[in-house]
């Protein structure tokens, strides 16, 4: 009877549904891949270079920080790789190597690791890094300037949002929504093809990896506020479909606003959070100083996340 068998003991429950952080990261990367591939198809090797460098450097920054802070190595969970991929997708294909390195450093170290790593970041690391880059290196994130040496056979060889900002809706009237949806527009290397992003986003929503409430509310927020602007003055403000299909709108709705640790988890807060992000995006685009408002809108809603997430259903059995 006195067996020497070593049994494993642990806490209940003894079943698990098999989900895990690595699975989440890798599935999100799979969902982002179609859009990235469209970027590679349009922009060629430079786009591939930016993507590879961004993923590699993001992993490296996290590894270096793990060593420097004497914490366990966390690069295996794929989160750093995912952040690298998303950074690459919002950069222009012509981004120089140092810009990519700075971008991933900002996202991984400043945006996430100094707060304590995965789960502890108050802002979406990608949005934070891109916001800093946008303010610091305007020329490199101005798509018209950055992509001037590419010969692209798109209907318009300028950034539609920049054209809208400078010349009003008349300048972008000739743009066909189908072309925009297929990614035939000047923009970030992985953020211009709305169709590919939407396919990835729907995949993530079905898998339950992102919260569909946030994405849908974000899109509805963009659509309704853009529609109100457009109805009030069609000469000055572009129609809602244009806002949906240009810039970072869809990437923001499906991949940036839904980053789990900086977004709410309860139903009503998710709707408020997403809708507010959409409204802020259109506000910044239409009456703000910046060409694209998605990045700043997401940083703003990240700020209100802890507050709105206090709106939650009452727990059962509470007397008060």
């Amino acid at each position: 009877m006195n067996s020497k068998k070593t049994l494993i003991v642990s806490h209940a429950p003894f079943w698990h549904d098999g989900s895990g952080v690595p699975e989440r990261s890798y599935h999100t990367m799979i969902a982002a891949l179609p859009a990235a591939c469209v970027g590679i198809a349009y922009y060629g090797a430079p786009a591939l270079g930016v993507i590879s460098l961004a993923i590699a450097s993001a992993i490296l920054w996290e590894l270096l920080f793990n060593y420097a802070s004497k914490r366990s190595i966390t690069v295996g969970n794929g989160n750093a790789a995912l952040i690298g991929l998303l950074i690459a997708m919002v950069l222009p294909a012509s981004a120089p190597w140092w810009l990519v390195l700075i971008g991933t450093f900002l996202a991984i170290v400043i945006g996430m690791q100094i707060f304590g790593g995965i789960g502890a970041n108050p802002f979406n690391p990608v949005a934070l890094a891109i916001a800093i880059l946008m303010v610091s290196y305007q020329n490199h994130l101005d798509f018209d300037a950055a992509l001037v040496n590419f010969s692209l056979d798109f209907p318009s060889t300028t950034d539609p949002l920049a054209a809208l900002k400078a010349f009003g809706p008349a300048a972008v009237e000739n743009l066909n929504p189908i072309d925009l949806l297929m990614g035939r527009q000047v923009g970030g290397l992985g953020s211009s093809c709305g169709l590919a992003i939407a396919i990835g986003g729907i995949y993530l929503m079905l898998r339950g990896i992102i919260r569909w409430e946030i994405s849908i509310a974000f899109i509805v927020g963009v659509f309704i506020s853009a529609m109100l602007f457009n109805m009030s003055d069609p000469v000055r403000y572009a129609p809602p479909a244009f806002h949906l299909l240009t810039g970072y709108t869809l990437l923001g709705a499906f991949f940036l606003a839904t980053e789990s640790s900086s977004s709410p988890v309860n139903f009503i807060p998710m709707l408020i959070y997403g809708a507010l992000g959409g409204v802020m995006t259109v506000l910044i685009r239409n009456i703000g100083a910046y060409v694209d408002g998605v990045i700043f809108a997401i940083l703003l809603i990240n700020l209100i996340n802890p507050l709105v997430d206090k709106i939650r259903p009452k727990a059962i059995g509470k007397v008060a």
Binding site: H11, A120, A315, G317, K318
Partner: protein
Amino acid sequence: MRKRSFFGLSKPCFNYELATGTVADPVAIPTPETVTLYIKQELKRASSSLKVGTPVKTGQRLVVNEGDDICAISSVTGTICEIAPFLADFGRAWTAVTIKTEGSDTPDTEFAEAMQAPSLETLNRYLATCPGEPDIGPLMDERNPVHTIVIYGGNADILIDTSLYLFKQSAEAVNAGIEILRKATGIEDIVIVIPEESVQNYSGHLDARMQPVSSQYPYAQPLMVLHQLTGRLPDEKGMASMGVHFIRAEAVAAIGQAFSSGSLPVEKTVAVIDKQGTKHLARARVGTPVGVLLKTFDVQVNDQDKIIFGGPMTGNAIYSEDLPIGPGTDAILVQDKSVIPLYSDYPCINCGDCVRICPANVPVNLLVRFLEAGQYTEGADLYDLYSCIECGLCSYVCVSRIPIYQYIKLAKYEIGRITSAEELNEQ
């Protein structure tokens, strides 16, 4: 390990076992060579009444010190061969008494004399460790009078239906037990709670109010039942402060059986669930080592497998095949090492899966941050620790694989300890 469905939007859904269909009668396990019983009291110094070599009879009370209320009931006749301290869950100190059995059973007669007066003292003295482990103490507490006794017919976990099976098999004993409880406590309001799909045949036969509950997990967990009955959940003072007391149907049946037969029940019905998920019912003496039961059903246990007392959601893993089944052990679940999910030390990534699955609307994502940091009272005050009904679903879906359920149980235990220490100081 179960798999998450491809469509992650759908929530996992479990149902309780309902003990319907034909169940094979329990296999009688012969009296083992040794049994081990726990006295839930610390072994401080050499005990005056427990000594190695002392002969004991079946049904005899074993106490650490003369005059103690806390005891164990010997399930066999034999001689004590070992007395040792035992460290139970959450670091509680108990005493383990191992008895070497003799061939035949000699019944102890002490209970037969005491049963003439079915009072709470008798119940507490002799039946607190009968199968089903009724907690008689709160019924005797005059500061928090109990007005409702809830007899809990189901099992508090999925996969297991031992308790429900016994309830169905021994309706007469349950009725007798209810009568004894009424007589001893004077409480009129006795409710029987049972999963609804197994209820239709029993109303009317039993001398108590029937309350069907949903057979979907976790709507028949004791705390969830309490919420359905009263609309409230207990705070750190525990269930007793609400005037409701839970007794398992198995315990009521054991009480009824004890008083009608004049001898204390010493056999426990246990389900053994092997690695393939096949369920075997067995009847064995309380204190029988787990290994004996596993051997009977040819369950091969290898290195790094897991043996669990109870079900997959709320059970307790044990560390040795030599540990005995206790009066509260409904099932022994064996898991192969290939299906054991491992916990991690990852932080919460705020994915919100736990919040969406929680049947009690507890903000688990925030609560767990406090509990991980040991801030139990903050968790209780701000983030609804006491709304948790202890179903374990949050840990089941946790992406970071945090042992949330364990954190919650630990927090409740620690706060309970502080509270009872404060109450002692006030007296």
